[in-house]
Symmetry: C2
Subunit: 268 residues, 2 copies
DNA sequence: CATCGAAATATGTATATGCAAATCTCGCAT
DNA sequence: ATGCGAGATTTGCATATACATATTTCGATG
């Protein structure tokens, strides 16, 4: 498979959202408004050809100068399009050799897990929340370590059940470091999930995750309305802000009813 | 917390690898060789300040012009540094408002799962592979759909057991589309894992994943040397190349002994 | 006092230009 | 034939410049 296609469409009709974090139309130096930036149109055109199989992995694609000519832009603009595609893992570039469609080999898998609320509401299911437990106590040593707390220091412990269409969907076991988030002591978690509350009140800079499978213990089984011993998908998350652990949470999902599915997201 | 630091070090000493796909030194227009590009030095300097807590989430950071002045570069170079940091999710930018350290809110979780071999050998464990089953057959309809095969079309079916330090670690159930990879019919999978073999022989452009928990059925339990009914972490992967499904595989891990752990990796 | 509008500011996009580095090709000398 | 060196090509980095756009600030006006 070695084919070189010389001409891309000058007016790319297909639309791809810019994945930059910024919003709005963006600066449009001498560009009719409402249209995508030139470099985005070039990226979209290339992506389309790859997606539709016209250019397969390893195939060469037009170089910067050629793209610049075909699209009527400067070389820097074409350069930016190719550079970003390379960073997104869509293409590979070498000097003199040119650019080619990436051969995805030996990469780590990257899983993107959508947020729970979005997952539930996105499916059109009715979302419901139940606060099962709330205490401010000295955590057991295992939890204390994860929160990186001093011995004897108290923390806020919450247990909540999330329901989708009146069926248990997720059991949340959460500890909040009150030194990092004193306001949490006053917050009302009967209507707003602690995850959402924390998102709004405490910025964070880092998080760690663990995924595992375990058999439901009797308490978990009762809460999730499944049989004891049934497989449960466990996700643990620890969130930090400025070198301090803000919160640690363990989420349990009925393994039979919950699946994390995702398409490959290149490293970028 | 509202503090404005005016001066960043002109000669950033800390080193960050450019995450672009390209290697080598890169073009160095009027730049002493061996040093990072100017925009990378700026990025590194900013990241360092954030990492060390000097600038916390939500804090403003110097603007393009200020950085350009402090680092003695053009505005475009400073712009590129900030743009990339924004895309990586490290900072947030708004017109007129300026740039500030990102408040990580509402983002999807991104999990990075290292490849199995690397995981096993990285732990210093002895890796072993056993081919339990190999047949070329017409797959059951459930598998046929996943492979997007025509009815009656045959596919290569493999079952393998991966061991770490002589203990079952992963049970692999794989189907390979022989239309996409005819050479697979001749390959020897007793010594090389099909995953690795495919990586070397077939480029791929896309993959989908599913993660779930399930109870071990008797056959799985026997293979993994666990009790029937014990929780098993399941990962399914479907790989495509040019709109064709190359392979579909299901991996099962003993839930008690295997955990996927990862630090947060921003989208970028 | 409230509100609308102009100025100021910071980011976003784009051009034209120059040089550096990597690497493939080809011709020439041994 | 083999190997070495001189282009040629393609990507990478950076500057100077210009204009567009979003948003805040501030002042004028009713």
């Amino acid at each position: 498979m070695y084919m070189q296609i010389s001409h891309l469409s000058i007016e790319g009709t297909d639309v791809a959202e810019p994945d930059g974090r910024t919003q709005g139309d963006g600066g449009t130096a001498r560009r009719p408004r409402g249209r995508l930036p030139a470099y985005e149109r070039i990226k979209a055109a290339i992506r389309t050809r790859i997606r539709e199989g016209e250019w397969g992995p390893g195939d060469p694609i037009p170089g910067e100068s050629e793209l610049a000519r075909d699209f009527g832009v400067s070389r820097l603009t074409a350069h930016r399009a190719l550079r970003e595609l390379a960073r997104e893992g869509v293409i590979e570039r070498r000097r003199r050799r040119g650019s080619r469609v990436a051969v995805r080999t030996g990469r780590d898998i990257v899983l993107e897990i959508p947020r729970i609320e979005r997952l539930v509401t996105g499916l059109g299911a009715a979302y419901e929340l139940r606060l099962l437990w709330r205490r401010t106590t000295v955590p057991p040593s295992e939890i204390r370590e994860r929160l990186e707390l001093a011995p004897g220091q108290r923390a806020l412990h919450l247990v909540l059940l999330h329901l989708a269409d009146r069926r248990p969907f997720q059991l949340e076991d959460r500890w909040i470091n009150l030194l990092a988030v004193p306001e949490a002591a006053q917050a009302d978690f009967t209507t707003i999930a602690p995850g959402s509350w924390l998102l709004e009140h405490v910025p964070w800079s880092e998080a760690e995750h663990v995924i595992a499978a375990e058999n439901a213990d009797p308490a978990t089984a009762r809460a999730l309305d499944i049989e004891p011993g049934e497989a449960v998908l466990v996700i643990e998350r620890r969130t930090r802000n400025r070198n301090r652990v803000v919160t640690w949470a363990r989420f349990r999902h009925p393994g039979s009813s919950y699946r994390l599915a995702t398409a490959f997201a290149p490293r970028a």
